[in-house]
Amino acid sequence: MTAPSNEASATPPRRALDRRLIAAGQGARRWLGLAIGLGLAAGLAVIAQALLLAHVVTALIFRHEAAAALALPLASLAGLLLLRAALSFAAERAAHHAAAAVKLSLRRTMLDHLFALGPAYAAGERSADLAATLLDGVEALEPYLARYLPQMALVALVPLAILAAIFPVDWISFLVLLVTGPIIPVFMVFVGYRAEAINRRQWRELLTMSARFLDAVQGITTLRLFGRARDEIALIGRIADEYRRATMAGLRIAFLTSAVLEFFASLSIALVAVLFGARLLHGHIGFFPAFFVLLLVPEFFLPLRGLATHYHARMTALAAAGRIFDVLDTPPATTWGDAVPPSGPLSLRCAGLTIAHEPGQTVLHGIDCAFPAGTLTAIVGRSGAGKSTLAAALLGFVAPHSGAVLVNDDTALTALDREAWWAQLAYVPQTPRVFAGTIAANLRLARPEADDAALREALRRARLLDEIDRLPAGIETSIGDGGAGLSGGQVQRLALARAFLRDARLLILDEATAHLDLETEAEIAAAIADLARGRTAILIAHRLATVRRADRILVLEGGRLAESGTHDELLARGGAYAALLGAAEAPCAT
């Protein structure tokens, strides 16, 4: 066992990953070192225990000593056992500390980095995956850091210590272990590559199978509607069968690796025992060294077997680590300065604003438009036209590829301090988030120091107060994850109440597209009109019904500004806006 584990040297990128993981936690390296040191000490205690045990058994069998005469070695054995137990306990604690440091720091760093990357990166499809990585992905590192890594080090160290202990006692057994020991890693390098690839594929397919079943369960109503649900049961069985056959073919080879490992371990025990037996029979060697070595041989192979048991933990952890470092290695798209936004009325202007999410995938093409101070500007266009991207650019969530967003015609948005810029505005997204907590806590996000009277006033202006007052706990009602559910319309108005509370110079509002009945829609429209009054307001409109009152309407088409003007002007022109409006109000063809 001179080489460290084959797996470490076989895949260099993973080594780099290990180093990064350990470096992430403060003091993790020291705790891990301590865990390994304690594990090694426990290994040495095993050797001492074997020595004492062999002494006691020899005395009992060959010197026919009474048990009472062996009180001292027996007591020492008990002491050693206690020491081993203590060492194993301490090693476990130390390893946990190492993992804890890494987990805490990675979760902290990753969340901070996500906040720096902003919603353009974190929101949307990726969001569920990111949240899962932050919690479960980080948690999955624990068994890897706390068990697998120390075990890896012990795989190299403990067998070496055992070899060193056997060498002076019996060189023949030493040779047997010296030969069979390294065969294992060498063999595993050859077969291991293949087994590792198989294992990884199996692991992935297992997840796919599970996802496929979830797909079928979630679509069960659709399948029933098509009268296909019964067929699906047979299909689930058939797919599982195919998967099982393919997997078992792979596993036969994968398990062979560990079978070979076991074979060498078993064979070594048998070989050592038989070789000793022959020499003992002819009186060439004493019982004491023979028994001592026999006790140590299983321990020689034990750490190797331990490695195999943490295999799946390792797969999960490495996949999670990959995802975590993918996030950490993504540089923020936007850069910010430290300028303070000007005071007084706020106007915005886009000058040749071009935005590309990826090179060659331009979402906005050279937009020139103005959002004069104190006016309401509506942005319309079909989905994918670039409305939300324009809003994201004004918020500073995406960086211009070329051109700029100018504040009061003179300061580039990117020159401002980001916190200071956001302090100037209230933003209502298309699907507002209800945070886990009370209604009051949800509102105080916008202004932490607001008193209850201010919260109630904001709710009143958002036309939500009456409904909140009817709840048993009023504004102290828990909502969000694990709390009471709010209807879509109530969530919209809660977000508007936040914006009222924020009382900012600039309002950027992305209108909801979801299910709202006409009554609620009318209430929200009125609240929005109140909110926009006296501010520089920008409204991303999905419902054309709400744009007529805007001072100006910008019509986007395929990432370009198609036309702009008031409702009447645009209608008279008969262009893109008129077409949108026509489509929205044509009688149903059915």
């Binding site: 949240a131 025992a273 037996g277």
Partner: protein, 584 residues
């Protein structure tokens, strides 16, 4: 516990696999035990014979025990390899069976019986539970059975040598395998509960952080949220630290129990040998055997850990599967009536556990070929009406007939083969476009598929895809945009030439131009069928359209849109509201 026994009963068809897995596992443990015990005895016996002089050496049977050592060494390897294969084979079969049983149980419940207080995550929880239960045999049942059987066999083996030695071994195994794991489980109950509670809060905060990022940033509240997450993270680690300490304590206690058993075995064996009750070399057998025996109970702490969670999972799965199906299925259906006129007389509907009736006293007649729009706020009973027509929910009172035949006498699948539903929630499955289309009509040929795509105005889109009909969609394939997914469900509808077309707000969330395209495609499909459309909006209604308005489960208006709009009823009120919101 009863649920776990019920779970075990599902294993019946794979009895042979399960038994073989357990037998091989037992063989592995016993072979290891025998290997070490025999080796110990062998060394001591050869040593004794070697000292006893030439004569003793010659009579000593060297080869039988030496062969035994090699035999047990080989047996252990083979049994373990075969055992792992059989275990996995059994596990895969059991998981497949579990999934099939669960799916068959879910099918009659969907969708009404699956609606629960836990909402949308009910199904993903169920799938996670089933995945977890798939390991029940491998990680819980098998270790317990093997440990119990092995412990008895090994203790019995020792008892043949000396009853006291057998008892001592059994005692040690019981402490290490049952007492210590149970104690650490008990000690860990509170910190484990605390960890779960913190984890729930942490998950909520993390999801909030990621999905509410825009608001957190623009409210300058990201710092506060990061601090909150950090505090929860620290609290979670504190709970985990206590759990790790308890686990470490348990591991140390097991180590101690096994060591002390062996330690106690030594003076016992020495005394027995001194009294000539056993031969000297048997001391080595007892010492090494006692050491090796504890391999049998090594997996038990983990099995105990899993047991509680498995019982929870089994309870959740069976609770769901035990829900009574919302509708009773007749054995066969009457012949299809000549005219498919729908008629509801005084129909009401109430979901189990609901405070209010979803539908109350509905009188409604829809003639074959008629086009009707159902209006109403959310919760007014529009979807319940569809559930009733599709026999997903039974009427609590009144009669619902199709061409004079009571709906309750028609088998659900036969009834639903008359209907096609287009909604915003139609599931698109991971797979090819063709797979997704064939769901609607398994025997359709490519020409029929292309015609359907043509009708849904999706043919251009599909023909520009490199894979054509074999392009992947969903999970692994390309994402369909909202409009494309809706039109795919239209193409499915086009494949099914059913007399009824039910539209459940299929254009919700689409932009006006995309919606207009969808509606043009829909028009081609609607001709010649009975169409019932649900909406909460008045756009796209023509004056001579028939409109039925629901409010709190009752019909409050039924007539032509033009007349109702100009009258004084609820439709007129709604219509004025729309005008107002346009000119706020």
């Amino acid at each position: 516990m009863r649920d776990l026994i019920r779970l075990l009963r599902l294993y019946a068809p794979y009895r042979a696999w399960v038994l073989a897995g357990v037998a091989l596992g037992l063989l592995t443990v016993l072979a290891n035990f025998a290997l070490l015990a025999l080796s110990g005895w062998f060394l001591a016996a050869t040593g004794v014979a070697g000292l006893a002089g030439y004569a003793a050496q010659n009579v000593f049977n060297f080869f039988t025990p030496a062969a035994g050592v090699r035999f047990f060494a080989t047996l252990r390897v083979l049994a373990r390899y075969a055992g792992r294969l059989v275990d996995h084979e059994a596990t895969f079969r059991l998981l497949a069976r579990l999934r099939m049983v669960a799916y068959a149980g879910l099918e009659p419940l969907a969708p009404v019986g699956l609606a629960g207080e836990r909402g949308g995550d009910l199904l993903s929880r169920l799938v996670a539970d089933i995945d977890r239960l798939g390991d029940f045999f491998l990680r819980v049942v098998s270790p317990f059975v093997i440990a119990a059987a092995a412990a008895l066999v090994m203790a019995l083996g020792f008892a043949i040598v000396s009853p006291a030695a057998g008892l001592l071994l059994l005692l040690g195994l019981t402490i290490a395998g049952i007492a210590v794991p149970l104690a650490s489980l008990g000690l860990g109950r509170n910190p484990a509960r605390a960890a779960v509670a913190v984890q729930v809060q942490l998950r909520a905060d993390l999801v909030d952080s990621v999905q509410g990022m825009a608001e957190l940033l623009t409210c300058n509240a990201s710092g506060a949220m990061a601090a909150r997450v950090d505090a929860a993270s620290v609290a979670l680690l504190a709970a985990q630290r206590r759990l790790a300490a308890i686990a470490g304590f348990g591991a140390a206690a097991i180590l101690l129990a096994s060591g002390l058993t062996m330690l106690a075995m030594l003076p016992l064996a020495g005394t027995l040998a001194a009294a000539h009750r056993i031969a000297g070399p048997v001391i080595a057998l007892l010492a090494l055997g006692a050491m090796a025996a504890f391999e049998a109970v090594a997996p038990l702490p983990a099995a105990f850990q899993l047991l509680g969670g498995m019982a929870e999972s089994a309870r959740r799965v069976f609770d769901l599967l035990d829900r009574p199906p919302p509708v009773a299925e007749p054995a066969s259906s009457p012949p299809r009536p000549a005219r498919l006129d729908l008629r509801l007389d005084g129909v009401s509907l109430r979901y189990p556990g609901a405070a209010h009736a979803a539908l109350a006293g509905i009188d409604l007649a829809i003639a074959e070929g008629e086009h009707v729009t159902i209006l109403g706020r959310s919760g007014a009973g529009k979807t319940s009406l569809f559930n009733l027509l599709l026999r997903f929910a039974p009427p609590a009172a009144g009669s619902a007939t199709l061409g004079g035949v009571d709906l309750a006498t028609i088998r659900g699948d036969d009834l639903r083969s008359l209907f096609t539903v287009v909604s915003q929630t139609t599931a698109i499955f991971a797979g090819t476009l063709r797979d997704n289309l064939l769901l609607a009509r398994p025997d359709a040929d490519d020409a029929a598929l292309w015609r359907a795509l043509e009708t849904a105005r999706l043919a251009d889109f599909v023909s520009t895809r490199p894979g054509g009909l074999d392009s992947l969609v969903g999970e692994a394939g390309a994402k369909l945009s909202g409009g494309e997914a809706r039109r795919l469900s239209l193409a499915r509808a086009a494949l099914r030439a059913t007399p009824f077309l039910l539209l459940d707000e299929p254009t919700e969330g689409l932009d006006p131009l995309t919606e207009a395209e969808f509606r043009r495609a829909l028009a081609g499909l609607a001709a010649g069928r009975t169409v019932i459309a649900i909406t909460h909006r008045l756009d796209h209604l023509a004056d001579d359209d028939r409109v039925v308005m629901l409010e709190q489960g009752r019909i409050v208006a039924d007539g032509r849109f033009g007349a109702l709009r100009r009258g004084e009823g609820p439709v007129a009120r709604l219509s004025r509201l729309r005008e107002m919101s346009r000119h706020f």
